[in-house]
Amino acid sequence: MNKHLLSAGDLTAGDIRLVLDTAGHLAKLTDRAIKKVPTLRGRTVCNLFFEDSTRTRISFELAAKRLSADVINFTAKGSSVSKGESLKDTAITLEAMGVDAIVIRHPASGAPVRLANWVKAHVVNAGDGTHEHPTQALLDLYTMRQHFPSFDGLRVAIVGDVLHSRVARSNVLALKTMGAEVTLVAPPTLLPTSVDQWGVGVSYDLDAVLPKTDVVMMLRIQLERQSAGFFPSVREYARLYGLDARRLDAMPDSSIVMHPGPMNRGVEIAAEVADSIERSVIASQVSNGIHVRMGLLYLLLGGPAVTEPGRLPEEVPA
């Protein structure tokens, strides 16, 4: 493992397997009467959120608390940021208070990388602009592994607003590392211009891709973007790229439906598909998120304090 988790592209296949395996073992804690272990007693994790978030912040908070770390929640609203304090000064303040890890969500792509250069604490990217959301990719891979024995040759379709999606970027990087076959499906206006360099399949035709797909990951259409002219109307988008019951029937019986949330029911995903008991794993993605973040925090903070960036020391197998 690296000291920081800034991009899913920094994780080796071994790192990803280690996080998923550790998360799998820690998931058993949820079935116990006492859901807490004393592992990270005395460590402090700061959730530094400059953007609104429900599930990611609560997920990180629960993960840290189940490992007995102390958690500070910082939201830009109501803090000195609204008085004009810069990210750097905020970081220096947190550092002076002695936090061991900073979980940051920021509207600007690259903010976590900047932060990692200023602080000695571990930095975990919890979503930066349209860049990356690596823990979402890890929890998505964990969820896929619950349903499929191997990533090798697993056919994953990521459908929707790839252009603005940090979830798509992180998933593409992690899935490629694990040997999955990724296809991006979107109208041409919602694909990045450099998508041909991503090393993945690209299609504009959802109906052609679905019969050859094991995992379909629907991305949220950010409705505020309709005015920017990326697609003619929400109805047309839903007709061409929305996942409804008819399209679900065209997929293999063993396939699963994922969505990082929050969902626009009736736009990118029909309510009956989102609530499908057999095929939708959207609810388990949320619970898996806690386990994956617990595994990650344990692997980052469970070792000796490290001041320099780079690889963390690894255990020599006995």
Binding site: I34, T39, P304
Partner: protein
């Protein structure tokens, strides 16, 4: 000049038994089997049967040992004895002092309230793993009693902990390394003592 030891350059060592890299095992497969049979009888005797007994193996090699002891006890008493596994990585006292220990699944066979839990591990050394295991166990309930069974007790305790059932007491030096190898994890049953860190390093270098 004649020499009784193989020199690094020589094609064939003259006295193979002198440089035999395979140390004679402290316990061989039959010894391990006999030790477990005896411990099984001792557990049944001490607890007047196996009515409330639950065997809990500590990862990694305590787990197959607990399963084998459960089979022995089932044979001895004629009724099934539950066995489970316990991971203590989250309860260790050296978290933050060394790289994070690998995690394993904890799977306990039943509610531990009122049960007699027999913790099972391969080697009892400093006692720190057992301390972590005691902490982990109480998060699952309140056993009536907790006992400890180990295949090898090598001494050098750093905590006030002792074993109730011991396969073999082995006086060792701190520099030595006691390795328990089991069919389930290592392909064969045996216990060996190696010279410890320095020999390990040379073995790794040659591997």
């Amino acid at each position: 000049m004649p020499t009784s030891r193989a020199t690094p350059g020589s094609a064939r060592p003259r006295w193979p038994e002198v440089i035999d890299p395979e140390p004679k095992p402290l316990l061989d497969a039959a010894d391990v089997g006999r030790a477990l049979t005896r411990i099984g009888h001792e557990i049944a005797e001490r607890n007047k049967g196996t009515a409330d007994v639950v065997l809990v193996g500590i990862h990694r090699r305590g787990v197959p040992l607990a399963a084998r002891l459960a089979a022995k006890l089932t044979e001895i008493e004629g009724r099934p004895v539950p066995a489970g596994s316990l991971d203590v990585a989250m309860y260790r006292d050296d978290i933050g002092l060394r790289p994070p220990a690998a995690t394993h699944d904890t799977s306990l066979p039943s509610d531990l309230n009122g049960k007699v839990v027999v913790l099972v591990d391969d080697v009892l050394f400093t006692g720190r793993t057992i301390r972590a295991a005691l902490d982990a166990l109480v998060d699952f309930g309140r056993p009536r009693a907790i006992q400890l069974a180990v295949l090898v007790d090598r001494g050098h305790r750093e905590l006030p902990i002792r074993a109730d059932y011991v396969g073999k007491n082995v006086p060792t030096s701190m520099a030595q390394d006691v390795q328990v190898q089991l069919t389930e994890t290592d392909g064969a049953d045996r216990v060996v003592i190696t010279a410890g860190a320095s020999m390990d390093a040379s073995m790794e270098a040659s591997a």
